[in-house]
């Protein structure tokens, strides 16, 4: 396998979000997808009829790519709705690079739209929740019988094991939420930007996190990401076409994906994720290493997720992932910015957050700061990692800009 030809085979050339997002958008998943796709294609300077590959997950029912193409009235010739949780959008980048490199398409759109918040109010009338709906399936027969509710119930076990093995405290993880909020206070689009955007918005400290109500010990409410409505989309183009768009191309230097389990009883070491594997592939293709990265977008479904992921990507030694957030290192103006939009913890998180990692990384690297939300960094390279399911799947990509 010649991995080298995958390096810079494609670039991100446009990004967009839904016209509104956050709590109570009164929209459907398809509406959020559509707004995001229209904004991303407009940002790239193309028509939706130019979309050759359509990569969709999140909301939009059981036939998401077909439903979305029908709704838009477009006829993509390559579709993919891989379902691996919130990491899916990073997997989609990997898959789009493959399809582009194979010469099957030149322009792909990856999209997300999910009413994570509104569906709780409207009531999910379909088969929601859980990993499975057949009572005979292993997750139903042997795990859900013990009452575990959603992602926090599972992640809490991994965080506790990690704290035990590495003698790391809840405070160290709380600091990740504090830094996420620092970025959010500089981003007027962030759901938790200020008291004006949300009664609980604005700056927080470690005590605020530790005093928030327990969800699944050791996770408190503020260790957990938001649950919002949100749509996001990115446009990816082949290297031959990448310079034909309005934006400076943000090059995909390397990408990788890895899966490990779906039932957490099958996860051998809960202090590790498959991000060590997905990042190894991405680094190899890119010919780069952790020392070459100038910022990171790390999926912070929980403070724990971001902390352990930093280690899996080689950004910090084992047991010391949370130290990256200390001493203003990952904060605005710091040496190694992390989650510059405010993260899933304080920007927005509809249930499958991965698309927003890509959008923020593109904005930071594209170099056009005017009109962009949030504080801009000077980074020219970024590592982006998504984690899906109960620490079940990871996708890693490495992005750079020549700008």
């Amino acid at each position: 396998m010649n991995k080298n030809k995958l390096r810079r085979a494609a670039a991100i050339v446009g990004v967009g979000e839904s016209d509104t997002f956050g709590f109570d958008t009164e929209k459907t998943s398809l509406t959020l997808h559509t707004e995001a796709i229209l904004n991303a294609t407009k940002n790239a300077g193309i028509s939706i009829d130019d979309i050759e590959g359509l990569f969709i997950t999140g909301g939009a029912g059981r036939f998401p790519t077909i439903a979305m193409a029908e709704y838009l009235g477009i006829k993509p010739k390559y579709v993919d709705n891989t379902y691996v949780g919130g990491a899916g959008f990073i997997f989609f980048v990997n898959h789009a690079v493959a399809a582009i490199n194979a010469g099957m398409i030149d322009v792909a759109v990856i999209s997300h739209g999910e009413v994570g918040h509104s569906i709780r109010k409207r009531g999910n009338k379909g088969t929601g929740g859980g990993f499975s709906y057949d009572p005979w399936d292993p997750s139903m027969q042997f795990e859900q019988i013990y009452g575990l509710w959603g992602a926090p119930a599972y992640y809490a076990h991994a965080m506790n094991r990690y704290m035990h093995e590495f003698n790391v405290t809840k405070d160290a993880f709380a600091q990740i939420a504090v830094v996420a909020r620092e970025w959010a206070t500089l981003n007027p689009q962030a759901v938790m930007h200020s008291k004006e955007t949300n009664p609980f918005g604005g700056p927080i400290d470690i005590e605020t996190v530790l005093n928030s109500r327990p969800i699944a010990w050791p996770l408190n409410l503020l260790d957990c990401c938001l649950v919002t409505d949100h749509g996001g989309a990115v446009v990816i183009a082949s290297k031959d076409k990448a310079n034909d768009f309005k934006n400076t191309p943000v090059w995909i230097e390397g990408s990788g994906e890895a899966i490990s389990h779906i039932n957490m009883s099958q996860m051998k070491d809960m202090t590790m994720t498959s991000a060590s594997e997905s990042s190894k592939i991405a680094y190899e293709i890119a010919g780069m290493g952790p020392q070459d990265m100038e910022m990171a977008m790390l999926y912070d479904s929980f403070t724990y997720t971001a902390g352990v992921t930093a280690e899996m990507l080689g950004l910090a030694p084992r047991g010391e992932g949370t130290s990256l957030w200390n001493n203003n290192n990952a904060s605005p103006g710091g040496k190694f910015p992390i989650n510059t939009n405010g993260g899933g913890l304080s920007y927005s998180h509809s249930g499958m957050y991965g698309i927003l990692l890509l959008i923020e990384a593109q904005r930071q690297l594209s170099g056009k700061t005017e009109g962009l939300p949030g504080r801009q960094t000077t980074a020219k390279s970024a590592i982006v990692n998504g984690t899906g399911g109960p620490l079940a799947s990871t996708g890693t990509i490495i992005l750079t800009s020549d700008n």
Partner: protein, 150 residues
Amino acid sequence: MSNPKKTNKLYSRPIPDPDILTAKEFWEGTKNNKLILPFCNDCQKSFFYPRIICPFTGCHSKDLSWKESTGKGHLYTFAIQHVAIDGWKEKIPFVTAFIDTTENVRMLSVLINVDASKPESIKIGSSVQVKFEKATEQIYVPYWEIVTNE
């Protein structure tokens, strides 16, 4: 989520619905106060959850049988649930745990007879033993408890 109809007055939490092809022996075992685990006749290892193939790398045999577990193990990790589904809501806060049995099989369960208000009192690595709780005449659910004196 689990079928809320499948509960009763005795046991208001979700009641397991056994897969009769792959898990009949497991649930017959719990009824008889025994933890019986799937066993691979080729690589000679126990595994969990029950399925029609050995999950171990390099084996994947379909020559499977069943082997009684010691019913003992240790606490790999735990969490204290303050939000839950179905009848478990009545039990909040309660302690869920991943148990490693002496056969090196990991299972999710609920840890009983611990103080959920004091996480620091529950020690990872503690020796644990299985207990079965009657849900219906046909179904007994595995729970685990910390063994203090060995």
